[in-house]
Symmetry: C2
Subunit: 332 residues, 2 copies
Amino acid sequence: MNIYDIAREAGVSITTVSRVINHREQVNAVTRERVEKVLKAHNYKPNATARNLVTKSSRTVAVLTIDIREPHYARTAYTIERELSHRGYEAIICNTGGELKETERYLQSLMEKDVDGIILVGSVFNEIGKDARIRDMLKTFPVVLANGRLDLERSYSVLVDDQYGIGLSVDHLVENGHREICYFMDLDTGSAREKKTGFIQSMKKHGLECGQKQVIKVAHSVEGGRVGVQQLIEENRQVTAIVCGNDEIAVGAVKELTSRGIKVPEQISVTGYNHSEYARICQPELTTIDNKPELVAMLCVQLIISLIEKTDSYSSGVIRPELVPGKSVAQL
Amino acid sequence: MNIYDIAREAGVSITTVSRVINHREQVNAVTRERVEKVLKAHNYKPNATARNLVTKSSRTVAVLTIDIREPHYARTAYTIERELSHRGYEAIICNTGGELKETERYLQSLMEKDVDGIILVGSVFNEIGKDARIRDMLKTFPVVLANGRLDLERSYSVLVDDQYGIGLSVDHLVENGHREICYFMDLDTGSAREKKTGFIQSMKKHGLECGQKQVIKVAHSVEGGRVGVQQLIEENRQVTAIVCGNDEIAVGAVKELTSRGIKVPEQISVTGYNHSEYARICQPELTTIDNKPELVAMLCVQLIISLIEKTDSYSSGVIRPELVPGKSVAQL
DNA sequence: CTGAAAGCGCTTACAG
DNA sequence: CTGAAAGCGCTTACAG
C-alpha cells in the first residue's frame, strides 16, 4: 500500500496525498478528509526510505561510544537515546572500544547511510578526532563531542570541567584536615589528564606537596584500585586519603584497604568520581563527584538537533561537576 | 558523486558500475579495473538509502530493551550490537522502559523504516507481546525474543532456564547445611515468576518448608533488598539464608544486614543472580548465578540473521545458568 | 487548491 | 560481457 494506491482510491493525485500526509496547509478541507479516510482505512505507513532518498535525511543519529557496559557511558547513551526518541530521531549505537580502527569502520558504514548527525561520547574521541582520515569522514556530518574539542566546521562540544571536579575532592579532603593525599589516575585519555591537572593544581593551591610521587597510574578498573593500594603499601607510603579518577578504582582501593584490615575512612579516606551506582554499593558508600552525564547527554542532543535542523537555538557552556558526600571520607 | 558520474567517467553503463560495486562475477576483468580506478579516484560511497529502497532492506536491526542502564541489559545490548556490527548490520537501540505504550511508539516508527529485524530483550516482552496491536506490528518483522515465547510466524526465542538457575542457589545452600531459606522475589515479570517457581520446586525437592512465608516480594533494586531484610527482622524470622532474584537486591540485603551488625555470611548467607559487576563489588563478594547474557546475545543475533537471510542455519536450545561461588555463603 | 512530471540513486530483469 | 529501461515510493518545484 503506497501513495499511488491511496491516491487512486481517494481520486486525487499523489501530490495531494503527500500534502495530507505531511500536514501541509494548502489542501481543501473536504479533500483532506477524503484522503485521510482512505489513509486510515488501509492503516497506511509512509515508507521512510523513499522519503529519506529525496530529503537526504533519515531522522537517525549515530552515537559512537566506547563501551555501553560501563555505567557512565550507559547513562549517557541512555539519556541521549531517550531525548532523541522524544524528538522523533532514532539512535544507532556503536561500541568502538575507543579504538581508531573500529571508529573508522563504523564511520565508513555510517557514511553510506543518510545519518543526520553523530554524537561522540568519551574523551578518547579527542585523540581519535585528530586522525586525518577520521576527520575527513567526520566533516561530512554534523558532530557533537561530549567532553572535548574537535575543531571542525559543523561541530559543537559539551565540556565538563573535570579539572574543577577533581578539585572539589581535594578541597573536601583538605577541609577535613587531610594533607597527605595521593591520586589514582585512570589511564591516559583527555579527561584523565584534565583530572590529573586538576589534582595537581588543587594540591598546590592548598600549599601541599605534589610531585611524581603523589600521582599513581592505575588501570581503569576495580583491579586497578587494588593494585594502586598494593603499591602504596609496598612503598610504605603514609597517606591519609586517596583521590580516585573513577568509582571503579575507588571501589578497588576500598576493597583492598579493607581486606588488609585498614579501615575506610577511619584510617584512610577515599573519594571516587562519576557518582555511579558503584559508589552507592561500595561499603562504605563513596564520597564521589557527580559529573552530570544526563545533563551532558541532554545538551549533546540539543546541540546536534540545532546543527541538523539549523535552528541556531543552541546553548552551551561548561558543566560544573558537584561533590556528593558519602561515608568514605573522615575528618582528621 | 553517484553511480551515473562514475559510469560516465569510466565510459560504461550504470549497470556495469553497479555490478562492479556489488562484486558480481559477470564483468570483464579489464572493464572492472577501469571502473574500480574511477571508484577509487573519487572515493565513491554507495548511497545506502537508494539501495534500501529497491532491496527493501537496510541492514539494520532494532534492539528493544527495557533500560540499558541496568548492567544486565547493557551487557546483552552490547554483545548484540557488536555481533551485528561484525556481520555488517547496524543496531538501533530503544529503551522502552518495559512499557506497552513506549514499545508501541517505537514499533510505530520502526515500521516506517526498512528495519530488517527486531530483537526483544527482557522477559517483559512476553507480556507486551500478548497485546493485539503489538502483535500486529511485530508480525511484519522477523523477531527474536531473549527469554520468552512469542508464538508468531517469523520469530524465534532464546530461552534461559531461570528455574534451574535459582535451583542452583538453593542446592548450593542446602549442600552447605541451610534449611531455613527465603526468597526475595523481584517483581512480577516472566522470568521473575520462573525463578520463584524454581525456588519453590527446589525447596520441595529438598523436603524443606516452602509456602507464602518463604517468598518475599521486593522492589527490583538495592533499596528492595534493604526493605526485604527490614521486613524479615520486623517479623522476627529466623532464616539462615536469603536467595535473591538479582544482584541489586542481594547487595541491598547484604548492606542492610551488615549495617544492623548481622554478619554475612557468618550469620546469614545471601545469594544473588546475574553475575554482574555488583556481585564482585559487594562486600563480601556475592555467590551468584551467571545467566550468560553474552551467550544469549550471540544466539539472538544468530537467529535474527538466519531469519533475515533465510539461511535456516539456526541452532537453539535452552541456556543453562551456572553458579559462581563468592564469599556470601557460609557452611553451617 | 491541485496535479503532471522530474528526480532522489540505486538494482534488476530482460535483451542482445 | 554489457546496456537501456523500468521501478523502488516518496517530495517538490512549477504550472495552472
